[in-house]
Symmetry: C2
């Protein structure tokens, strides 16, 4: 029996568990669709994400080199977010998941009844 | 600006948020690799998952029709888990994510320093 213990595939488990949450997925899909965005744009495009949750999500994605944060020394200060090359390379996988979910959402909701 | 509000793509958000957690991913990858498994097999193959967490994860995946639970009327009782067709159809996306994470894990860990 092949196992998937922490020590064996720990970095992969760690990387994927930081990507797997709903807010990361929505930030990435929104940046892919809308390109360069500000914090407020992201918050409006996702709708029900709290300021704190969006801040934490962006910070994690930035730390992992998946999203780039650019601050402009202007008054008032301007901060923009965009996908990095690494972020863009992730999108085919995530788009595949979104398409899978679109195809199966009705069946899954039916299954839960 | 395209938005991704709850009401717009709610079922997709809901479906993906139940799939995105680390334990679901590990259960699915383990079942794909090891085929039919018992609860104890799954727990040993993942290693550090608690009994409660594995129970909740399996119940969610079963409710969504992604994993099948089969109980045999034997003494002692025998229960087996396997991927359903829907579960198998999900694996190419998840395998893509795992491969992406394998390729980028070092770079991501480096990025965090």
């Amino acid at each position: 029996m092949q196992n998937f213990h922490r020590d064996g595939i720990c970095p992969i488990r760690d990387v994927l568990s930081r990507l797997g949450d709903k807010w990361s997925l929505l930030v990435l899909v929104s940046l892919q669709t809308n390109g360069v965005m500000r914090f407020g744009d992201l918050q409006r495009s996702i709708g029900d994400v709290s300021q704190r949750m969006l801040t934490v999500t962006l910070r994690t994605l930035e730390a992992d080199g998946i999203v780039e944060r650019k601050a402009y020394a202007e008054v008032p200060p301007r901060v923009e977010y965009r996908l990095t090359d690494r972020g863009r390379s992730l999108m085919p996988c995530l788009n595949g998941l979104v398409e899978w979910a679109q195809r199966h959402a009705d069946g899954i909701l039916e299954n839960r009844k």
